[in-house]
Symmetry: C2
Subunit: 398 residues, 2 copies
């Protein structure tokens, strides 16, 4: 391997950007440097790393001739889009951490990489410190995958762990997650399942070679879960986990969803606790593989970003092989799932047309059904369901 | 990626070789073919795959101009050594599944790769279907690793699972493992810990950049475990697992061992059951990562071998970066461990000089101590311990 030097222009200095800096300070590699950092508020960040050069002008990065690598770790998806696009067009290799931007613009990002013969890597974005994408790209490339199921969001999983293991209520658990820095002050992205959704979309491209728009995938978070739901899960000796799920169905169908699942102890992801992430990959040859690791925090994520960066030292690129496969799967919501549905009024019950009801309970304060329903129905009513006082969980029989 | 065609000369057509053939039959890739297979007994294998060309003469493989890739999947370590060496010298890329050969000749194998500018890959050899080596090479290359602990042998783990989950006795469990094809008719390699040892040596090279000879590492299997040991574990609510363990100690020390461990439920590898393998990687930045998957069987291992083969399509090679690191760890057995030691006579108790005894039990039929002892002492008495009717388990306090 020739001795390349990676000179980074870094965008963003939040938890992950600062984490990358801290990791570099610890291991002091002789071939990776941060040359300049672009942030919105220079004054705020200078004291955190006085040895770094900060700017609030993206041009200062792109016009710096020393810089041969862009790392984008900012929150704003639209700004991230502009930065990554500009970098790729300038034929600079890029590492991006912005899941929302990647999930939304993946087709264009793949095209930009091809047109400009340069690499965009984002393993760190998809599952914190678990190298899911690279393993799907390189190691499971020959297997015929059946499903990928994962706990993809550390913050919401932390909250669920505190509720189910330590008996906290939802508000206490959310507050603790925020105090510990595992949840944003606006937790909608995590709690509502959106962060998991973006990751699922990215993973699905590499696992199944199918790109699906976020709007088309049924997404329901844990924000509506109440004490009745928790009690229901406990009585059934299950735990609620927020699960991103992609599965081949029938001859060439592919279903995707982000929803709470009522998981029994036999499931691997039942035991994924706190801010950890875990992914179960099922394939025809491998049966089951399970990968598990920290999904949040400056060090794990900063270090995962560094792995994406140093992959450039040996010219690593995603190949997107499965997108070109002649046997393309077709995304569909025509698939029946068994759910637990807690509702508040007859009107919210009537939002959904169950094909079978297995269980039904009714009282003044708590009403639910367990029944079979098409994912397409849930998706058609998604906005109304999210606005109502209802809770939905996949409730598998096993 | 240019359209390379891999034309394989295959050595061996046992479970893994046949598994590779079956996987290729299923996915029918257009760039990977088996051209010819060298086996000891041609007549035996022809009916299993009439479409393949078999030979019992290695020269028929090496003189076949169509063949541009060697896959070695035979049991005999010395023959494997000759084949792999000859292939590398002929500048052919090689995939090898022979852990024993690799563990014993790793230095020479690395040198042969360099001298002949060709690749030797062996991820499939180290942990069945879990891509441990590639992840250590590519993804954890920047992390400062603390430890790698794993269940590396599917056969012995299958036996332990049947004993601890289904109450079988040792003989029944071994028989079942043999009937199901998870254990060899001579199970010494699996049960005695030697298979795990070879894998641990290979993993340690990629995890810590240190190569240690098999003879220098304390290795003790599960063959001596009796009903008292099983009862002891059950009473303490622990399970016995055969664990390969590498850990950085002190400033620059590295300890290695293959031994049974008495694991409590909190440990990730406690839950690795049946023929599965599981590895926990601890690093300074990532905290803990856990990878888990099938460790035996034709399909999973055949598919893992195919992943090693297709890695050649993008010229993948192990870099052995950590072997060249300026901060080399030193292998040592000067490290105290807490063990459960069941012995039969005062003479076998006196084989070991415990620095502290935490617990001691004595009856006519069952005698044990729990105490602290240097690994170097265990290693000094290793042959005698293996020949005596004693059982040894790491017994951590937590």
């Amino acid at each position: 391997m020739d001795k390349k030097i990676i000179n980074i222009g870094l965008f963003g200095f939040g938890t992950v950007g600062k984490g990358l800096f801290d990791v570099l300070q610890k291991i002091k590699p002789d071939n990776v440097n941060i040359v300049k950092v672009c942030v919105r508020n220079v004054e705020k960040h200078v004291p955190e790393a006085p040895e770094l050069e900060f700017t609030n002008n993206a041009d200062d990065i792109f016009n710096d001739e020393r810089i041969n690598f862009i790392v984008e770790l900012i929150d704003d998806a639209e700004a991230a889009y502009d930065i990554v696009k500009r970098a790729l067009k300038a034929k600079l290799p890029v590492v991006s951490g912005n899941k929302k931007m990647l999930a939304r613009h993946m087709n264009e990002m793949i095209q930009l990489q091809r047109d400009n013969d340069t690499a965009l890597l984002y393993d760190a974005s998809a599952c914190g410190s678990i190298p899911v994408i690279r393993n799907l790209e390189e190691y499971y490339d020959n297997d015929l995958l059946i499903s990928v199921k994962g706990i993809l969001n550390g913050s919401s999983n932390f909250i669920l762990s505190k509720i189910f293991n330590e008996g906290m209520n939802y508000a206490e658990a959310l507050k603790l997650a925020q105090d510990l820095g595992f949840a944003e002050s606006d937790p909608t992205l995590d709690i509502g399942g959106w962060d998991s959704l973006f990751k699922l979309i990215i993973i699905t491209i590499h696992a199944f070679g199918v790109y699906v728009q976020p709007e088309d995938i049924f997404t329901f978070g844990i924000g509506n879960m109440n004490e009745h739901d928790i009690q229901f899960a406990n009585e059934k000796r299950r735990r609620v986990k927020l699960v991103g799920w992609a599965e081949k169905v029938g001859e060439d169908g592919l279903v995707l969803s982000v929803m709470p699942h009522l998981l029994s102890k036999q499931k691997y992801i039942y035991s994924v606790e706190d801010e950890f992430n875990g992914v179960v990959i099922k394939g025809l040859f491998y049966y089951k593989q399970f990968m598990f690791g920290q999904g949040a925090g400056g060090f794990p994520t900063g270090s995962a970003v560094l792995s994406d960066i140093t992959a450039q030292l040996y010219d690593y690129r995603y190949q997107y092989k499965k997108l070109q496969s002649p046997h393309q799967l077709q995304f569909t919501n025509d698939y029946k799932v068994r759910i637990y549905y807690r509702y508040d009024t007859p009107a919210t019950l009537n939002l959904l047309n169950f094909s079978t009801i297995h269980e039904s309970y009714y009282s003044d304060t708590y009403k639910y059904v367990v029944g079979d329903i098409e994912l397409s129905q849930l998706q058609a009513q998604a906005d109304k369901l999210r606005e109502s006082d209802v809770f939905i969980c996949i409730y598998p029989e096993d």
